[in-house]
Subunit: 622 residues, 2 copies
């Protein structure tokens, strides 16, 4: 366990839980990283779609960004109210389930799960993508770099949330600090130069316009830009991670995160227009990210530039951490309602829901491998899940306040939120359906089907096994014991001794392959070595049965024999004793037990209620 | 099992074994494919090294080929004697072990295993390589094609050797037939045109000489050419596959194979010199194989050309089949001496050693994936194994005849063989060490280490478990039974009922996580639902034990408790009853039994002789 401790930290007792809780300064990096880092790809995603409009297109980024900021403010007020109403953690799933019912709750659950997985995948791939634009020679290792960062995040998160906060504090504040300096400096120069600042390092010239603006294009630009809003729900999901006063600390954290995000989005949009900076083709070798162009234009390509780019890279890949904080909590909440396997309820050594982390890692790795770690192919799937969850959560809050009574103002706030995000959801779905939103549109119902199946399965199991009845003690008979023996040795002796303690009704079975004539075979020694001492002790004699197996298979005829015996004896139970060699090193298992394992497997599959397998372990070399 | 039958043929009983045996016409494709197809890459490998000598180099292929043919004739006479002496199958491993002892036997075993795996890998990759030179658009699917052919061969071989013979008959005889026609026609033209025949289709011009001949280069050319000899030992390994008179049929088969191989090697060498045909750079896009140039020069590029090339492609990839016939037999022979896991001894449904086939497929696939299916990178590792085995086998035969006495002539034949192949082995090792032979030089001792470990392990196991003693019936007590119970339901009731039949000494254990307060928990219902009926029946009361688990782990504290109990009761056995849900579909396992499986695993690892696990199955939905 020493190595585990070193890697993942020592286990924490339930009573230590309190000590894991955090305040706003630590909460901002943990729950805000995803929302804040969205500023690094949201505006760029919108600008990429504006490339065909040339210099004119850059001007449209300002109204689009302010529309997104407006939506963001609505969502902010909605979530403040959620935090207040659900201090124990009010994720969309909880809010939708409690207020709208099981169906909408499942919809929210599916949407959120997909959203978190994409948060992790996009965060990592965007970070690696930025790294690759800086160091093009790493390009061919894209996927490997993605998986490496995923592995690093896994280790950090299996250690626990507090250490995570410390590890993510510096990069987040560096990211915020450098970008704020860029924005302040840039706006100062804009004013000083009368709205037309001179860039320190000029950006690539914008291409000539090849198309005119259409409403359809504007909808797509808005939809892409909305990825800048992903992640703002993280605080409301994780309220219980804050130290008391819990709700207040959470609200302060949310306010700071949203305020910074608004400054970033507005600043980036205004400076892009002022400096005439647009996106460059992500596929071309001359690609340069919008934030890289902006920093170089405002501050030149010195140490400050590289610090800024470095912190962007770091924060982008670490933003995936929001998913690591929230996905396991969500999986646990769903499993508590029997919609996901119960392993997600169990907490691991460090008070975290380790199984959820492992599941997230598997799905994220699958997405990264499937899409080759390319952000461009992941982005279109992304916003759907987030906005579906926003809408359901706020609609749920409306019902919540309605039930409470006397809260018309609050109902109104959440109602506006629900309508605004619901309309946005429809816009995104329509505008980006062919670009990839259809994948999410298929995955959501698929996940709902799986969760419904899991719930049904647990319900059926409970119906079959639940029993408020007292113990029935009728018909308690010793079982009919069957002991397969290959040859007589100390292992079969141990098995036979245990058989004799279990029941007076013991049968020793030998499978004869027809092509072997061994000395000292069980038939030859049966009388002298086995029956003689048993008779001497006055015990009931076991019976020896030989099974011919002309096809040299071992487990098949043995199982057939056992099931035939079971039919003969009716309701009584059969105990099959399976000797098993226990080795010191795992690789030694390759040398033993293949027959025993096969026998146990076939017995389990073909057997029934009345066949019980008893493992007789034989420890080698001890 | 229906699908299995369709794919792999119905199972065969031991009594049907005779019917699987074959005569020379079927034996030539099965055991000769590898040796004969070597003619397609052996001479070309030699000629590739002669490229820097230009047209002059082509002339050296004749003496080098005749040196190889001389060596081949020596080896032929040696193996005739092996077949006679070992009609039950005289592979190098058997011969070396029986005559030289265990050490040299292991050396032969390791060499042969590596050689067979490389036979399969090179056969497949060379076949695919030829296909790719014909259809360049397939180039990027090289590895996929290799693995596809490997899968096909696996299915054919799991069906059994007779069907294999039929499947391989046509391509082999087509290959032999077309190449013999090319050689006869070519030699006729050479004589008709006074030694300087006019090619129907001219070959690419040979490059200008850039270097002069050195002895070192000649050694490397000879070493590369020696890959033309790989596979000639196949008949002597598989003698027992022939129908009686077994040895005679095997010798006839070997004679025909060697005769054809000599004609092919001599013919190719002479025609290359007569037509001035050399190898082309395998890496360049203008690559054309030597046999393709030769066929085009002699017969033009008509239907005959494509038939010839097609049969070469087919036979090259099918040559891997020799390894499928011999590797499992070799693995079985080694396993019979306890040097490999015993699964290799068990025969599968079709009288074949299926586990050996599976092992070969895994290793071959690994080699193909590792080297990307590129023949060029595999060839240098190839000859070492074969010549090491040749040498050991023939040295063994010398000792064999010496023991028999009165066989000086035969001793001399095998002695010459041993010296000739031993010297060749040294030449190949030195000449090709840096090109890749060093890989084999590392793998051989590694395999020997593994085999020695396996043998030691089986010996130690046998020492610990073998017992000629009669059954000891002293101290037969019912075990102390421990039943972990989460909550009271029909599953725990079944477990408790079984526990009561096993022993009067039963303990029910509940792990309490400290953060749950359930209604109807085991502590609350214990008195009424469990103790009351037991008392009424006059049975011994079980004891209820609650274990606190502050770290929420389940299996760890339970195992600690079980081991502590075991220490208390001393020599008596503890039976741990583990209820297990048996589901209808495999995927339902994801929802259950995680705790049970973990408990069983930890019990096995941390437990001891006196802890026995009893699986109580509960079948869901039946």
């Amino acid at each position: 366990m020493r190595t585990l401790d070193l890697l993942f930290g020592r286990p924490l007792a339930t009573s230590e839980e309190r000590a894991e809780q955090i305040g706003p300064p630590a909460g901002i990096p943990i729950f805000g990283l995803d929302a804040l880092s969205s500023a690094a790809y949201g505006p760029e995603a919108a600008l990429t779609l504006l490339i065909p409009l040339g210099l004119v297109g850059v001007h449209y980024i300002v109204p689009v960004s302010f529309a997104i900021i407006g939506l963001l403010i609505i969502v902010y007020f909605s979530y403040r109210q959620t935090i207040e109403a659900y201090p124990q953690g009010g994720g969309s799933y909880t809010v939708a389930t409690e207020n709208l019912g099981a169906g909408p709750g499942l919809l929210a659950a599916a949407a959120l799960m997909i959203d978190y997985i994409l948060t992790a995948a996009v965060g990592i791939s965007a970070g690696v993508g930025a790294l690759i634009s800086a160091v093009p020679s790493l390009h061919r290792h894209t996927l490997l770099l993605c998986l490496g960062i995923l592995a690093l995040l896994t280790i950090i998160n299996l250690r626990g949330v507090r250490d995570t906060g410390v590890a993510f504090l510096v990069p987040t504040y560096l990211f915020l600090g450098t970008l704020l300096i860029v924005i302040v400096l840039g706006i100062y120069h804009s004013f000083a130069d009368g709205g037309h600042p001179v860039p320190v390092v000029a950006s690539p010239a914008l291409p000539r316009a090849t198309t005119a603006l259409t409403w359809w294009l504007l909808l797509k630009v808005f939809s892409s830009g909305c990825t800048a809003m992903t992640g703002v729900e993280a605080v409301s999901n994780g309220v219980m991670a804050f130290r008391p006063p819990t709700a207040k600390n959470a609200k302060i954290t949310l306010t700071i995160i949203i305020a910074f995000l608004i400054v970033l989005l507005a600043g980036i949009a205004l400076l892009c227009r002022a400096y005439g900076i647009g996106a460059t083709d992500p596929a071309s070798p001359g690609y340069q990210s919008v934030l890289s162009q902006l920093t170089a234009a405002v501050a030149g390509k010195g140490i400050f530039y590289y610090t800024t780019i470095g912190s962007i890279l770091l924060v982008l890949s670490l933003s995936a951490n929001t998913a690591f904080a929230d996905f396991p909590r969500l999986a646990r909440a769903i499993a508590l309602h029997d919609y996901l396997p119960h392993v997600f309820i169990l907490r691991g050594r460090r008070l975290l829901f380790s199984h959820g982390i492992v599941a997230l890692v598997i799905f994220t790795a699958a997405l990264l491998i499937l899409f080759g770690g390319v952000t461009d192919r992941l982005i279109p799937l992304y916003a759907i899940g987030a906005f579906l969850a926003f809408t359901l959560s706020q609609a749920g809050m409306v019902v919540h306040w309605h039930k409470q009574g006397n809260a018309t103002g609050r109902m109104l706030v959440n109602g506006i939120g629900a309508i605004a995000t619901g309309v946005t959801l429809l816009v995104v779905l329509v505008a980006k359906f062919l670009d990839g939103a259809w994948v999410t549109a298929i995955l959501v119902p698929a996940l709902i089907l799986v969760m419904t199946f899991v719930r049904k399965h647990y319900e059926q199991t409970a119906r079959e096994t639940d029993s408020p009845e007292p113990l029935c003690i009728e018909d308690l008979h010793p079982p009919h014991v069957i002991l397969p023996v290959d040859k007589w040795n100390r292992i079969s002796e141990k098995g036979l001794r245990f058989a004799l303690t279990m029941s007076p009704d013991v049968q020793v079975v030998h499978v004869d392959f027809g092509d072997e004539e061994k000395e000292g075979s069980i038939g030859q020694i049966w009388e002298n070595l086995i029956l003689k001492p048993i008779r001497a002790a006055g015990l009931t004699e076991p019976r020896l049965v030989m099974i011919r197996s002309p096809y040299r298979s071992f487990a098949q005829p043995l199982v057939e024999h056992i099931l035939a015996e079971q039919k003969k004896i009716g309701d009584r139970q059969i105990a099959v004793l399976v000797p098993e060699l226990v080795v010191k090193h795992w690789y030694e298992n390759l040398l033993h037990n293949q027959r025993a394992n096969l026998l146990k497997l076939i017995l389990l599959v073909k057997g029934n209620e009345r066949v019980i397998v008893v493992n007789i372990p034989w420890y080698l070399h001890q």
